[in-house]
Every structure is written in structure tokens, then in C-alpha cells.
Symmetry: C2
Subunit: 368 residues, 2 copies
């Protein structure tokens, strides 16, 4: 099997407003990569991760970038689209079908991915906040997790975002600010929620052969985990304090990488709502089940968790989020994270989930 490594990456600023169309946004994230691109031949695959309804987006972005890949297509799987697309890039390269793949995540508001309108098992409660509030209630009841502990997730991630020039929300907040913000669905409030925004992020992956030729300090995709439990909330409602899809995906990724949670130096996890950070830390095995809230409370300086500011701090450009999280891991591993650099970074993990955690994806990336 061909090993798959990373050549370059870039993320645009995440914004509330943009005057760019979706093609321009996608190109904005890829152009710096193409400028540095050390490949002699054309990039062989262009994968667009997006909930956008724009047809033929792969070839349109490829033509706009001036490249003629073998394949170019759009992949959609809501919040998992980014990590899904990286998994496909890995497969195309590892199987020898392509030597290189440019994965571009891009989203322009209003995104059709921000409401779960297909899931009639939710009744009229189709906005993701409704299931997030059930997770929060369940965790608080079962494990005595406090409202303050959950609020601390937002405080930490906003703090991390404050040193990320690409993040949407760079102002510091306090626990009281979260608890005083507008109640949306008990017990969750405005500052517990991410904001659907515009943005793009891109990564150029390549075969071992190409990576060794061009990169001084190669990074490799070491582990991949994926799990689809269902599409509807009713099917996962039997235990709302834990996410089976995250547990499965995590188990697979650690197994494939031969690493353990203690080997991971940076964690990029899916915090579209504060409570999800607590579930993810537990379900990926970083914290004992039920202790996530207490862990957050005790470790107020959690700079190694969502150092870019998480989805809460950066904004949620749905198709771009998984790519931007992976870019953060890459930049941390390469020592390019500036003010928010974590010391001694050798391995990082990226966690994504879609639609009430009905599916999840995990990537583990590391040095040689």
C-alpha cells in the first residue's frame, strides 16, 4: 500500500459576510497551495467538500485554478464532508489511482446543510440545537455535569480563537457571558452554539514517493476511522450521553495508526455545540466517560484541544470545517501555528460528526 502524506495546506478567513461566489471562495483557499506546489505534473484529483447545490463544482473550480486533474467531483455529507473527502483522497492515492489530490472544503451562507429538514423523526425540531440540548440535559442528569462546566468549553475555545486571525469570533468571553446569553433551547444558550459562516480550506495530499521528494518534514495520514449509525435522531436516542459513531470511528483510527490517546498532542474535535466537546473527549478515550465536564473545569488551559478556536470560535463553514480542522493539525505538527503553537507536537487527531452524531469520522496525522 502506498503511504499518503501532506504537501501543503491553507485556510481562508471565516466570515459572516462575503462578496465572493462559491467558486471564488474555493479558489482563495487553493491558490496559495498552487503557488507553492512543487509537483512537476498536474494535480490528479480535485475533491470539493461542500453542501452547496452548485452542479459540476469540481471541474469548475479546477478550470478556474488552471489545472486539468484526472477526476474532479463534489462530495456532500454535511459536517462530515471534509474528513470524508480527505479519506477519499487517501484512498485514491493509496490505491495508486492518483498520485496527488487537492481537497477543497468550501461553504457559502445560507448553506442548505444547516437545517436537518429530512428527519421527520425530530417532529418539527429540525434545527440541530434541539438534539444538542437533549445531549446536554442527558449528560447533566446522568453524570452531574454542571451548566458552568459546559459553558467553560465556549470560554476556552473563544480564548484559543483570540490568537487565530482566521477565526470569526476573536473576543474573549467569561462563563457569566455564556450563562447570560439568550436561551435557545434549555439548557443551551446562544454562546453554546456555533455560527454558520462562509469560508474555505484546502489540503494537497500526495503519494509517499512525491512527499519524500519535496517535503523536509513529511506528515502522514496514519489512521482513519468512520462510522454511520443512522440518519435519524430516533435511532440514536437510546443513549444521549454518548455517541456510538464517534466511539467506533475512534477505535478504528487508533487501531490503524497503532497509536493510543496518550500519543496524541493536539485534538481538533467537533464542537458545533459546547456539549459535543465533552462527549467527544469521552467517546474518543481522552477522558473517562462522564468525567468530561470535570476535566474541562480542572484544565482551564486546554490549548491542545481545538487550538484554532474550534467551531465555536472559528464559525462553521460546514463543508470547509473538517478541512480547516485538519489544516490546524498540520500547521501545529509543522510548527507553523504562530502564537497558538503547541510544543512537542508529533501526532494529532481530527474528529467530525454529522446530524446529531448519527455518523462520525476520525483522522490521525503524524510525523514519521
Amino acid at each position: 500500500m502506498v503511504k499518503v502524506g501532506i504537501l501543503d495546506c491553507h485556510t481562508t478567513e471565516f466570515t459572516k459576510e462575503t462578496d465572493k461566489d462559491i467558486v471564488n471562495l474555493a479558489c482563495e483557499s487553493a491558490i496559495p497551495i498552487l503557488r507553492n506546489n512543487p509537483l512537476e505534473n498536474d494535480i490528479e484529483s480535485v475533491i470539493i467538500s461542500s453542501c452547496s447545490e452548485q452542479q459540476y463544482l469540481g471541474p469548475i473550480v479546477s478550470e478556474s485554478l488552471g489545472i486539468k486533474p484526472k477526476n474532479a467531483f463534489k462530495l456532500d455529507n454535511l459536517c462530515n464532508s471534509g474528513t470524508n473527502s480527505i479519506t477519499i483522497a487517501y484512498s485514491l492515492i493509496s490505491s495508486g489511482i492518483c498520485e496527488s489530490a487537492l481537497v477543497i472544503g468550501v461553504e457559502k451562507t445560507p448553506s442548505p446543510g444547516s437545517v436537518l429538514k429530512w428527519d421527520i423523526t425530530r417532529g418539527s425540531f429540525r434545527n440541530p440545537i434541539y438534539w444538542a440540548s437533549l445531549f446536554a440535559k442527558s449528560h447533566m442528569k446522568r453524570y452531574k455535569t454542571t451548566r458552568e462546566q459546559i459553558a467553560m468549553v465556549a470560554v476556552n475555545n473563544r480564548k484559543n480563537a483570540s490568537s487565530n486571525p482566521k477565526a470569526l469570533f476573536r473576543d474573549l468571553i467569561k462563563i457569566e457571558d455564556v450563562l447570560k446569553s439568550r436561551l435557545i433551547s434549555y439548557p443551551l444558550r446562544l454562546f453554546d452554539c456555533s455560527y454558520s459562516c462562509n469560508g474555505a480550506s484546502a489540503i494537497l495530499l500526495a503519494s509517499e514517493n512525491l512527499v519524500k521528494k519535496t517535503a523536509d518534514q513529511p506528515l502522514w495520514i496514519k489512521g482513519i476511522g468512520q462510522s454511520t449509525q443512522s440518519a435519524s435522531f430516533s435511532k440514536i436516542a437510546s443513549n444521549l450521553a454518548s455517541l456510538e459513531s464517534t466511539k467506533n470511528a475512534s477505535r478504528q483510527a487508533f487501531h490503524m495508526s497503532k497509536l493510543k490517546p496518550k500519543d496524541i498532542d493536539i485534538i481538533e474535535l467537533h464542537d458545533a455545540f459546547t456539549i459535543l466537546q465533552i462527549l467527544a473527549l469521552e467517546d474518543m478515550g481522552f477522558v473517562e466517560k462522564g468525567k468530561g465536564g470535570y476535566f474541562i473545569e480542572r484544565n482551564q488551559d486546554t490549548g491542545f484541544i481545538n487550538p484554532r478556536g474550534g467551531i465555536l470560535g472559528c464559525g462553521h463553514a460546514i463543508g470547509a470545517t473538517g478541512i480547516a480542522q485538519t489544516v490546524e493539525v498540520i500547521e501545529q505538527l509543522k510548527g507553523l501555528a504562530g502564537e497558538r503553537q503547541i510544543s512537542n507536537c508529533n501526532n494529532g487527531i481530527v474528529h467530525n460528526l454529522s446530524a446529531a452524531g448519527t455518523s462520525a469520522n476520525i483522522l490521525i496525522i503524524g510525523k514519521d
Copy 2:
């Protein structure tokens, strides 16, 4: 590298009207496969090939089918979506990320993929008929291809469709019928055009290990070719009598398979318009450039080309078409094609193209 084989396949009837939604249509094609499915474990990947704007279609179809794959997502690349998706399934299995993959192509009218509304280089001529008519005019002028030769493609494919119970148009037509049908864009007429319709088609692929365990007569994906030249018509307009993307993809697929055109016993090629069949036969190397029209005229019994009836005979369920073409090749190779069975079938080829042939995909499938 893991070899990738085929376990089972099924196509629904292609129809003008349907009372099913897109999820039901997708399931209709997959349920017969799941009934026969000899796998001990769950199918590990579900790829939905479709232009549909329905979000989270992969997990929704998976849940509806009662399976919990590792990954489940939607891939969109217009008319190439089907063969693109099979290429991704191949990569996932060959790289060892998944052991099995169910690829489902599905489309419900009106499909957003039937008008090329993004391509402003076409001016107001955004319906695919306009570029097809330019191809026809160019080929007629440069190679003295006759209007009758082009019409013969429709006559042949409708004849093949007459013995395919899944085809939309099963009535025989004559050259005169084509030439008397309504003029749409000179020189092409109504019967030169395919019809955008409803339909679904599915294939279950698996690793060599699983295929050898379960299949008496294994079929393998032997060759894959892919080429994206551009997204806009203006970029390919310098030579309208040949399609660079088809030539590139064909060269790659034959190289990978170590086969030559003379080794191919059944050809499924993209005939959304009659003229495309002539271009494809030439650009894939089955007929000398410029001789496609004369080849069709001399070989009126071309049952080995588009034996299911082509897109002209079957209808064009955009995301499903590439899968249905591949299903035809599989059934022919397995000797399951009934009335339209071609004798001594060992290797078959599938050709797809998108949006004025700006991109193309080729698959070669064969016996051990």
C-alpha cells in the same frame, strides 16, 4: 494492492413518471442486492451517485436499507457521477479502507443536472443540445459524415432497447423517423436526443478476498481512466470533432488493464446525443478517426455497442446512468443478459462524459 471485484448488481426500470421519492428509488435498486448479499458483515461503504440536492442522502439511504456502513456519502459530477463513484469504491477497497462498497446511482426528474446553467461561455445556449449540434456539424463538415449515419445510431440503440425490459423507449424506429422528428438545433432532431428520466441502479463491489469466497465466476475492475479538461465549452471548442477527455481516459484505462480495443467484447458508451456515439467509438480507438459514421452505416447490427439500448433507448437518469451501463456490462459478462446476450463476452468497457465532454471516465471490467 487489493484486487476489486463485483458481487452483485441491479437496475430498476427507467421511467418518465414515478410516485417514489429519491430515497425509495435508491432502495428499489439496492434491495435485491441486499437479499442476495452473501457478506457476513455489514457493507462498509455506501456511495450515492446523484445530482439530487437532497442532503445527507448516503446515511438516509443506508438507514432505510437497514445497514450501518463505515462511510456513506453523496458524490455529484453530472453524467460522470456513476463511473466516478465506482472509481471511488474501487479506491476505498483497493486501499484497504473498506472491504465492500455499495454504489447506488439514482435520479428523480426534474434533475438539476439537465441544464448547464453555470457555463456563461455558452451565452444563452445552456442546454446540452447546443453543443451536441456543434459536434455534429463539425464532424459532418470535416469527415463527410452524413445525417443518415448519425440517425442510424438512434435506430440501432432503440433496436437494442426493444429487448431490454428496463428501457424507457422500446419501440423500433427507422432512419426516416429520426429525420422527420422535430428539429431541435440543426442538424439534431428530437430522436437524436436522450430523455431525462427517473431510475436507479446499484452495484456491490468487494475485495478480492470476499469476491473469491462468494463468486463462482469473479469479475474484476481491470482498468480505470479519468480526465477533466475544463468545465466550460469555450475551452474545448478548438476541435469539435474529437473529445480530448475521452481519449485521455481511454488511454489510461487500456494501459492499466493491459488490454487493447480488440480485446473488448461489449461497449457501453455515452450516447446522450447520437453524435456522441460516433465520437466515442473513434476517441476510444475502436474506429479510425473520422470513420465512425461509415462504421455505423456498414455495421447495422451493432448489438455489442450499447446492448441495453444506450442512453437514447433507456432514458437518462443522470446519476444512475453510469451505474446502469456498468450493470449491463456485468450482466453480459455473467451471461445473464437474456434476449440481448452477446456471445463469448470476456471483457467490457464503460464510457461516460459530462458537460460537452469536458470530462470523461472509462472503466474496463473483465473475467479472471
